[in-house]
Amino acid sequence: MALEPHAFMNKMSTRIGFTAEDRALLQANAEWGLKVAPEMADHFYAYLGRDAEMSSILNASEGRTHRLRETFVQWFHEMFTGMDEWGNAYADRRWRIGLVHVQIGIGPQHVVPAMATVVQEVGKRRQADGMPDAVQESLGRICMIDLAFIEQAYVEVSSAAVLKETGWTEGLFKRLIATGAHAM
């Protein structure tokens, strides 16, 4: 059931409508993205830190918050640069970020609202800096793709673990979910 990051990236770009215009606009504003990234990291981790469960995860080891914050800044900037034109390297890195979220236990229930906070703060900052509305719309689209990677990583890793432990086939697993869901 392992996700193929490159195909997933293409599928999500098409599905969400992440266009060449979006890419060009983001790249043209990559410097601004890098400038505001630390501030957005502050908002993101401040939001998560207010939750007791998340706070304990973020502070579970020495320097974890610092490392995560650095990764956030890099991640945020990459949404603007696209790394390799939002190609395979970009997709692989998004998948890797998703896996790290699963490994340390930051689930979609935490990431999605934290990301919404960031999007809101980006909006405020964009207005203050006199940036065009379209930048936020383009950023919103690539942000949705990145979120999809994180959410999908949870599903993929959980499913892979069940298949590994039970020896069930992928078809059987899907069938059990379908029959189980139908009976709820």
Binding site: T166, W168, L172, R175, T179, A183
Partner: protein, 123 residues
């Protein structure tokens, strides 16, 4: 050669009707799809098939983890009867349901015979 579902169904029907205390039987794929079933009316064929494949596969994993060797069958005993799951080659799982009056030795012997017939059709 194509698998004859008619023959599979015939073997199952014959097994269920001619074996004492057997209430139902099914042959399903390892993916949990029914190949042929003869189950009590109230049972959901789709769910029973998926659960049968899941249980046999999980049982085999448990057997391996607990160093029990090759698993011959998974045996479920409740106060209303038995459920017996047996691998039917690589491509199928055989489920048999029997009531609490079933004589276990006889039941196992009948299952073994039915398996021989089923395997010939599934080959």
């Amino acid at each position: 050669m194509a698998i004859s579902t008619e023959k599979l169904s015939g073997i199952l029907q014959n097994f269920v009707t001619s074996t004492n205390d057997v209430q139902g039987a099914a042959v399903v794929t390892p993916d949990g799809l029914p190949l042929a079933t003869s189950l009590p009316g109230a049972m959901d064929e789709e769910r029973v098939s998926a659960m049968s494949a899941a249980m046999l596969s999980l049982g085999e994993r448990i057997g391996n983890e607990l160093a029990r060797g090759t698993i011959d069958r998974i045996y479920v005993e409740g106060n209303q009867g038995y459920g017996v799951l047996t691998s039917c080659g690589e491509d199928a799982v055989f489920l048999v349901l029997a009531n609490q009056s079933a004589k276990q030795g006889l039941l196992m012997l009948e299952i073994k015979r039915a398996l021989t017939e089923l395997k010939l059709v599934l080959m």
